[in-house]
Point group: none
Chain length 540, copies 2
Amino acid sequence: MASLVDVYDTTLRDGTQGEGVSLSVTDKLNIAKRLDRLGVAYIEGGWPGSNPKDMSFFEEVKQLNLTTSKIAAFGSTRRSGIDPKDDGNLARILESGAQAAAIFGKAWDFHVTEALKTTKEENLKMIEDSISYLKANGLEVIFDAEHFFDGFKANPDYAMAALYHAERGGADCLVLCDTNGGALPQDVQAVVSDVTKEMTAPVGIHCHNDGELAVANSIAAVEAGAKHVQGTVNGYGERCGNANLISVIPNLQLKLGFTCLSDERIAELTETAKSVHDIANQVPPSNQPFVGRSAFAHKGGMHVNAVQKHPETYEHMQPEAIGNERRVLVSELAGQSNLYMKAEELGIDIDPKSGAAKTIIEQLKELENAGYQYEAAEASFELLIRRGLGETDDFFALDHFKIITERNQHGDFVTEAVVKLQIDNQPVMTAAEGNGPVNALDNALRKALKGSYPLVNHMYLADYKVRVLDETEATASKVRVLIESSDGRRTWSTVGVSTNIIEASWHALVDSIRYYFMKEEATAADEETPLLTGQGVCNH
Amino acid sequence: MASLVDVYDTTLRDGTQGEGVSLSVTDKLNIAKRLDRLGVAYIEGGWPGSNPKDMSFFEEVKQLNLTTSKIAAFGSTRRSGIDPKDDGNLARILESGAQAAAIFGKAWDFHVTEALKTTKEENLKMIEDSISYLKANGLEVIFDAEHFFDGFKANPDYAMAALYHAERGGADCLVLCDTNGGALPQDVQAVVSDVTKEMTAPVGIHCHNDGELAVANSIAAVEAGAKHVQGTVNGYGERCGNANLISVIPNLQLKLGFTCLSDERIAELTETAKSVHDIANQVPPSNQPFVGRSAFAHKGGMHVNAVQKHPETYEHMQPEAIGNERRVLVSELAGQSNLYMKAEELGIDIDPKSGAAKTIIEQLKELENAGYQYEAAEASFELLIRRGLGETDDFFALDHFKIITERNQHGDFVTEAVVKLQIDNQPVMTAAEGNGPVNALDNALRKALKGSYPLVNHMYLADYKVRVLDETEATASKVRVLIESSDGRRTWSTVGVSTNIIEASWHALVDSIRYYFMKEEATAADEETPLLTGQGVCNH
């Protein structure tokens, strides 16, 4: 039977220490949902004693009714010289309502005297009684032995003493941390191997990537007997990041035969990695191992032929196993089969022999060359196909718009948008103010539409993301705008690309509205109620 | 004595297989100069038999008179059924004038029959006589045993036979390649250890990063006896990239005691990594191990205090050893000690007891609450401090601006900006067009300034980034704009935050210009030339 390894995700805590990574409470809840679906054993939600904002995550995550993952709260051992019950940091952990607590303590004596400014003996007591206090209050307790590898090198007896005291306090898992990220795999293997022989409680591992070795170190630890692996999605984290769980998991499960996730869910790794990049607004590295767009991409004819016949000739594993796919670069064939696959997914029937299929593919190529990307904008993709097949129309046409952004002498910013549309062959012109040019444009567009299409009031923009595509051109570079919309029941995403952020936003806005109208029209057709009101007719 | 390891760089050949990496002959020559200066043993310049463009690199690199590195040409063993002297590919290698040849041959019998479509015996002959032919023509020959690890697993005898034939042909080095990139460190260690025992010629290693283990695998191979390591600068390469030499080298040299480069040159690793990113037009990942901007960055007050006193408490090595530097992040987590440390870094003296220090800290907190982030905008930070200390002024004042973005009936986008400034108490008003509102504003601002400050023409915007801070508010949310500017010699970054993207961009633009003027004014003061021309006076 395969050996089980508990995956402990700290994207929401250690991951947010990464430079440029910043997550709102909503972002954290969305990531927690994804991680629960993926099936990690633990989700570390934050440090309630250090960051009051984290408390609202712990409150709200209860409403999500997660089914697989336990929620863990992070914190430190109690302060020196006091009773655990008087320690505010430990109190916050209990208040958080988390099922598990991960508390870190010093395992390197140098840190005890230099950073913590207490005695070695007191530090050991702090470890033991903080743990037993949390245990007595019903929590599962994970002990993070900070700087364990450096500490073990400097003073192995003291480092081990920290673990003995944690075990005596009742810790459910002893996690050896390479806090500075400089350990080497063979050292990790040797130390973990020694520690697992000594301790009764299960041992865990927590690595950082300062030597570009965090994945290797995590694997070495598991091979040496660790049963619990900490890391973050996509390796976010302080300095050079934490161990990247998206790489650790397939190495352990698909290459070494350990069980981290169910066979079904490991196929969602690519999707998970991408959606976390999206939520954290990070550019997904195309060369990211396992899940990147280039991870199974093949250039060059001979290579491609070989791979098509025998994938194992140039692939280290099956991309499907982790939900990624083989990509053949610059190949007509790849594009077409993707299109049919995708259309089938959306319930659209395309006749491969029709002219429409050819036209859609050409249009798609042109748009992708221009920087469009439909992976995160399926509504724009569906609209493109259905328009190409003549299954939907535009609902309204733009005559023109104008946006004026002004900063007056008093330093106040005012933005106004004027929009003129053609709806059902009638001109409709209106103006609206907004908080910035895109918001003003959005407001004016809705105002112009709501007379004829009151249902525009039922949809709203839920998310707005901007990415600069070619950063070398600075303010004249191309931008991609992604908009997520919702009507409260479902959400959909659309995309626009241009050198002009307003134009890119316009395309994404208009796609979003047209997509909603198209979907509602299909429903309305079933119920025989016209979509276009106001004029009372639906003749588009 | 430290054991020597030959570093074999293939950035110019395997590195250019990376998606999005494309190098002109000039780019390649510039990279070759950097690598020679760094002191790698070999620079693989290209595949003259496959890519005729590569030939001009081999021609021109001779003019550079490199002092340290040997130039190597890549190619395959001869085609089956012919004499080496009749093989065009081998002829191109000889024509290239390279001192060394790296030729790859099949070590996995499956590839011999399936991809190469020849017999196993002929493949072994191809390896042996291709090598002896090149040797007879005076070249040093490196044999790249393709798919060695997969081949060794499938048929160890045949994989070893490939090496024996290479050795018999006179190969100077036998390089074991993990072509598919899926090997695990312990397998690499075991196989390399077996091979080095069997072979007389030195053994080398060539890894790919598909499992996020290329650095670990390279190190494992060297520890098992390999004397030659192949890889690319920054890990560029096909799919997930090649082994990143920028991480392999410091691990081997600074942690394990092998010698790859001179002690003097290893301190240029950061500079080399950066300049290769620049030449290849890749955004340097801020979390890149060893050399990234965040690699030695510290957040959080307690952390910072400890690092100031004892860097080893939170750093796995001395950043100076590889030419990187410690950075203190100015963030909400940081206390006053961060401010003083940062100011010291910038050469600014702040009296902790002065009212100015208190005011600056309060202002900083307010701005950070509003969403400002100075981690990636040190120029804005310096400006803030120096303004707070009364060391600089504003150079110009804004009266007002207006931006009009219009999409006309023909679908054309036009953007115009009107700006009115006060420079030296004189009003200056002008207008400009642009590619989008921010570009138009930038153009108008420069046009208004250039009469009085012609030096504005010497700076340009190098990068423009937008991040939506609170994405739940969609188009009405707050955005943070980061601008990187350059005058060709140095770059600096500034930040602006607002719910209005135009306002946020304005702040970042203005900070960028003011920072440049402030720096140039300091230089001008030394040289006693006025900064403000046009009116010919400098009375601000």
